[in-house]
């Protein structure tokens, strides 16, 4: 592997590391910063994704819509205190087109409620496109494809 490719690999690993730590440490206000301004973000199931159904449980077509998700979670929506723990692995570069890269990565999320109940909340893959902005990798597109069609109770914190 060329040194450049090794460096890029490390940068991408770092991107996902920072992304999940941001969500898992409740720094949601910084979550939109991982995306480009005109980004696309969607949470869906493998069933919808594979059938070509466009529905997103969360469906954002701009970074501002991601900011609104966060402010709604902070100001408007009611849900019990909970935290996520994301494990991300097997990041794979699927295709390179110019400055943009198509990636897939596996994830697993355990949700822990205030009383201590733990659930394997979601397992699936990120189907992403990243691009360079301001000397950093940003998500231009992120589709969170959950293996299961079922969501336990509600989906508040993003994945």
């Amino acid at each position: 592997m060329q040194l450049e490719a090794v460096v890029r690999r490390l940068e991408l690993e770092q991107l996902y590391t920072d992304y999940v730590h941001c969500l898992d440490t409740d720094e949601l206000e910084h979550w939109p910063e991982f995306f480009t301004e005109e980004c696309f973000y969607r949470v869906t199931s493998a069933e919808n994704y594979e059938a070509g159904m466009p529905l997103g449980l969360i469906h954002a077509t701009s970074r501002n819509m991601l900011k609104d998700r966060v402010s709604a979670l902070r100001e408007a929506n009611i849900y019990e205190p909970q935290r996520y723990r994301h494990l991300v692995s097997s990041i794979k570069i699927v295709e390179e087109h110019g400055a943009a890269l198509d990636l897939v990565a596996n994830f697993m999320v355990v949700r822990t409620m205030q009383e201590g109940d733990m659930t394997l909340f979601g397992v699936g893959r990120y189907v992403d496109q990243v691009t360079r902005r301001d000397d950093a990798w940003k998500f231009a597109r992120k589709t969170v494809v959950l293996d299961s069609r079922q969501i336990d109770t509600l989906l508040a914190i993003p994945l």
Partner: protein, 411 residues
């Protein structure tokens, strides 16, 4: 075996908490309601376009197969082999020329009639079924199927009235109002609720809670009790449709803010960075911005702005419910309308700005019930009746649910 339930004298304005937690009552509901004289939503006709298309669903907890037969009609039958009770269809949906049980290869046609039994004549004159065995006596148990527009319903009851009569004209016209084209599915999801199915169904019919629990409604004036609106209740009391005419205020904005002052759901300082998705496109030819409709016992048709979804409430135990969502648009939608529906889907579903709380609030009640099984909830907003009202500060449609429920259960 049913225990004695002494319903309170206040009638439908009181509900004993036992209704939401008692395993015996739950078992009784599965037979008296879900296998009883009610019509339950099975599918959209468009999900089964061609002969041989099938999907699986439930009547309560009982598994059901829905097919498009070679006769072009939709058929439904219990998904349980007449031989040894095995599930005949294992996939959620698919395409087949016939329905063959994997266990012993008993084969049924798409209408559920038994076509053949493997090794029926035995081998070399030994074994096999007795001569008295008749294929026609061992088909899959069939449902009555009826459609309302593109909605397909089924019932096991020979005594249920025709579907159109069951739904009635008042609620029927409100279904037609929303389903004005050929439905096109945009996607589906399912939500596991840790509460009794009736707690969710009460929530759907509760016009009082929406702008109190869901801040998003109130803060962004998507719906307020101070807007024009009301609730229609079917002639037989069993079904409801609540509606908001958000652009028609009963009081001016300042008075509305004043009435909501001190109620936590009005967040003065909350502003969206990108509110564009909240703009409603003209679609229904009237000024109704939200319409939530339910058919007894477990179907919901939702229109919130341009977001349309079908919801099916499936009981999974006394304290567990699966809520299945089918989000739709129409074949004639252009890309702009589809984009708007997808954006407004953010309002509903498990992550919905105005529905997230509904996934949890039933569980909050479920957790508060232990020790209070003989105590009652109080449903007196708007009095004691269960008829249509041009007003939403009422629990009339919740009471009407119990009005339909109690005689079926013998309470």
């Amino acid at each position: 075996m049913q225990q004695e339930i002494k319903w309170p004298a206040e009638g439908n304005a009181r509900v004993p908490y036992r209704m939401f937690s008692d395993p015996e009552i739950y078992r009784d509901e599965l037979s008296r309601i879900f296998l009883g004289p009610t019509w339950q939503y099975l599918a959209l006709a468009g999900e089964l376009p061609k002969a041989g298309d099938y999907l699986t669903t439930f009547l309560g907890e009982t598994p059901v197969i829905v097919t498009r037969g070679h006769d072009g009609e939709i058929h439904a039958m219990i998904n349980r082999c007449a031989h040894r009770g095995n599930l005949v269809c294992l996939k959620r949906r698919g395409r087949a020329d016939n329905l063959t049980c994997v266990y012993h290869a008993w084969r049924y046609d798409l209408e559920g009639n038994l076509d053949s039994v493997a090794f029926r004549r035995g081998i070399a004159g030994k074994g096999g079924m007795p001569a008295s065995f008749r294929l026609e006596e061992h088909g899959l148990k069939k449902l009555r199927v009826d459609t309302f527009g593109d909605l397909v319903f089924g019932t096991l009851s020979p005594g249920a009235p025709p579907l159109a009569t069951y739904i009635g004209n008042l609620i029927g016209s409100r279904i037609h109002r929303v389903l004005h084209g050929k439905p096109k599915i945009l996607g589906t999801t399912s939500q596991i609720l840790h509460n009794n199915w009736k707690l969710y169904f009460e929530n759907v019919r509760d016009t009082y809670h929406a702008t109190l629990l869901h801040s998003f409604f109130t803060t962004f004036r998507i719906s307020r009790l101070t807007s024009e609106g009301g609730v229609d209740i079917a002639e037989n009391g069993a079904h409801h449709a609540s509606y908001t005419r958000n652009k028609v205020d009963r009081v001016d904005q300042a008075t509305s803010d004043q009435l909501y002052a001190g109620i936590p759901s009005l967040r003065e300082n909350f502003r969206l960075a990108d509110p564009s998705f909240l703009a409603m496109a003209e679609e229904f030819g009237d000024d109704t911005t939200t319409q939530i409709l339910s058919l007894f016992p477990n179907f919901v048709l939702q229109q919130i702005q341009n977001s349309i979804a079908l919801r099916l409430v499936l009981p999974k135990g006394p304290d567990k419910t699966e809520l299945q969502w089918t989000y739709i648009g129409f074949e004639e939608d252009d890309t702009e309308v589809t984009a708007l529906r997808l954006a407004q889907a953010n309002l509903v579903g498990p992550a919905g700005y105005v529905s997230m709380e509904d996934g949890a609030v039933g569980n909050f009640i479920q957790r508060a019930i232990p020790g209070a099984e003989d105590e009652c909830s109080v449903l007196e907003m708007g009095g004691f009746g269960h008829v249509s009202e041009a007003n939403r500060t009422t629990e009339a449609s919740v009471r009407s649910f119990w009005h339909a429920y109690r005689p079926l259960m013998g309470f």
